[in-house]
Amino acid sequence: MNEELGIILETTSKVLNKHVDHKLRQNIDNDNSDLINLWDEIEQIGLPKIAVKDKFNGSGLPLSTTLPIIKLSNNIGAPIPLSETILSNYILSESDINPPSGIVTYAIDVKNLKIIGNEISGELISVPYLNLTDKIVFITEIEKTKKVILIKNSREDKELKKNFLSEPRYNLKLNKCKILYIKPVNLRINFKQLGAIVRSAQMIGSMEKILDLCIDYCSQRKQFGRALSKFQAIQHQISEMAVELSASSAALSTITNSDDFYKNKKDIAILKIRAGAAAGKVIAISHQVHGAIGFTQEYELAYFTRNLNSWRNDFGNESYWEDELGKDFLENNNQNLWEYLT
């Protein structure tokens, strides 16, 4: 880890730990002054534009370097669109659009988009945190070129999605919405791959927290006269979570420690597969060892497991990436498996 990143992590950790508690997570709204204060401090330490080019007043760090910061934020369980803003601004900056200030979010998917003149109509699917911002980035193909579009949607035609997520997420109908910027996409890997990397880092941060919650809870909770952690059946379940987590972390470090991860798309698929599979086991086991208390809103476990449920499906689930990876190997070359792996 380089020194600069170490300092940013330390500062981020201080800011988040000062503001984030479980009460904050239960009131994710733009009239919550605690949330606004937290975001103000996030802005002050420059996180939203950390992966934005110098010429747009960003810190210009490689996206891979921001992953430990994103992971940390979700380890602490900060109910803010930090990863969404970092990724949106990165996409804008790479495609030569000056990112706006404040919170920026993206649409994971789009449907039936039509552009007439400087206005766009259609549907934006799965837009996180639209209650906190009106600035949305999305990517769509227009006349065979992929374009990045930035809009500011001030109209109230959004629909809150009921989903597994602890965080707010919306679908949005655009009706002749004014386009602020539209430019050809300039990304070395596509939006889905970028999203897969970021969501994986978020999942791993959350799973680390969940493991800690399980260890703490099982060490304190007594049944049949002894702590749950003293039962071998419980120990083995929690060990299994740790094994899953360690494999996911190993897959993440391949991306984090590489300046040129764009070149190896295999590793991105592997990361999302590994983290998504781990999330499935971690959700099941963590709830099993917590019993009924884990199934409540007042205890914080569910905040983390609900997010996992959603993130493992965002930007392609395990099946999608397994299929992609399998096809990449089977269809695109004449190598045998060992040559492909090495």
Binding site: L211, I215, S239, D323, N336, L341
Partner: protein, 384 residues
């Protein structure tokens, strides 16, 4: 969890070149029909001739000091060589244990005389080792061993039995874990010691135990009052437990924990590629993702070993995950026989598959069971 990190280690050009060199060597050996690729070759397929050849290439005892005939190469270089050998199903069983763990134990704990006489032979592929840990009444509970060594004038007297020692029938030595004094009430790990035992000594008898596949690799070794010289004690009297724990990190973390049946997977894909393209890409993708992750973790551990760390817990992670992967892999292939019936598979592939199916239960027993691995991890998590 941060203490169980697996930092990502890049394969340098030098390592990639070494990989190519080993691969060329293997291709030549295959072309000359020097070996037939087999499943679980590091346990089942021993060829002293092939081991000698590897020795002459400088690929055994790779990280050992030149002073003792070693090659002073890195643990990462050794990793690359072992991976290539495992992936090709080469007959590496004869030297496997000596090269993987026993040589390192002797370098760490042996006296000058032992290092000078034994290490060069290991490096040359001319001296083989067996593991002397389990006993008829001690398996997972290793600290309960009853084999004992008693101090006599000018040496030791060894009495007891060791069991499940793979390759003891062709091995020259066994590193034997014994009691040299009774366990204290507080700490069962006290009073254990390791001995370096020449298996050709009088009163040592090695008896084969056919495994469930009918093959011989298991042995039971009887030590019937074997007289050992003073310096047969390896390391420090009474410190056998901590020594054996270090040895187990070498035993558990390597690529043999997930590449034992790689030849089966590769032959299967080569045979059925056209069908897999249509209906199997997801299954293959899943296996690739897991295998590649395991490779990264194991390679990362090799680098920890290189840096002098003791990654015992990380080794347990790799072993546990690797064992699971191999079971899933064989199961995935089995389900595929729904599309192409097994009797229509080429006979060599059928053999590999059947061998793997029969041998797979042993992978989560040898080197420590799943339950022991999970126990080690739980202890590190502070649950025990």
């Amino acid at each position: 969890m941060s203490k169980f990190n697996f930092p990502s280690i890049k394969e340098t050009n030098d390592l990639s070149n070494l990989r190519k060199e080993v691969r060329n060597f293997i291709t030549k050996s295959l072309n000359h029909k020097e070996f037939e690729p087999s499943a679980d070759a590091w346990v089942f397929s021993a060829s002293p001739d092939f081991s000698k050849k590897l020795g002459s290439m400088g690929w055994l005892g790779m990280s050992f000091p030149k002073k003792y005939g070693g090659n002073e190469r890195t643990a990462l270089e050794r990793y690359v060589v072992t991976e290539e050998l495992l992936a090709s199903g080469a007959p590496v069983a004869a030297h496997w244990i000596a090269d993987r763990q026993s040589g390192s134990q002797i370098l760490r704990y042996g006296n000058e005389e032992q290092k000078k006489s034994i290490i060069p032979k290991i490096t040359a592929g001319e001296c083989f080792f067996a593991i002397g840990m389990s006993e008829p009444d001690s398996g997972s509970d290793l600290a309960s061993v009853k084999t004992k060594a008693t101090k006599i004038e000018n040496g030791w007297k060894l009495e007891g039995r060791k069991i499940w020692s793979t390759g003891a029938h062709i091995a020259n030595y066994m590193i034997v874990l014994v009691r040299t004094s009774p366990a204290s009430e507080k700490n069962r790990h006290e009073g254990l010691s390791q001995f370096l035992v020449d298996l050709s000594l009088p009163n040592v008898s090695v008896k084969g135990i056919p495994d469930m596949t009918g093959q011989r690799h298991f042995n039971e070794t009887l030590f019937d009052n074997v007289i050992l010289a003073e310096d047969a004690l390896l390391g420090v009297e009474g410190k056998g437990w901590s020594q054996v724990v270090g040895e187990l990190a070498l035993e558990r973390s390597g690529p043999e924990r997930f590449l034992s049946h790689f030849t089966l997977l590769e032959s299967f894909i080569n045979e059925f590629k056209n069908i897999l393209i249509k209906s199997g890409s997801k299954l293959i993708g899943k296996l690739i993702a897991e295998l590649q992750t395991l490779r990264r973790m194991s390679f990362s551990i090799a680098s920890m070993l290189q840096n002098g760390e003791s990654p015992e817990t990380q080794a347990a992670f790799v072993k546990e995950l690797g064992n699971k992967f191999e079971k899933t892999m064989v199961e995935t292939l089995r389900e595929f026989s729904n599309i192409i019936p097994l009797y229509e598979w080429p006979s060599q592939l059928q053999n590999l598959f059947e061998d793997a199916t029969l041998r797979i239960p042993s992978n989560s027993l040898r080197g420590g069971t799943t339950e022991i691995m999970k126990g080690i991890i739980a202890r590190q998590l502070g649950l025990r």
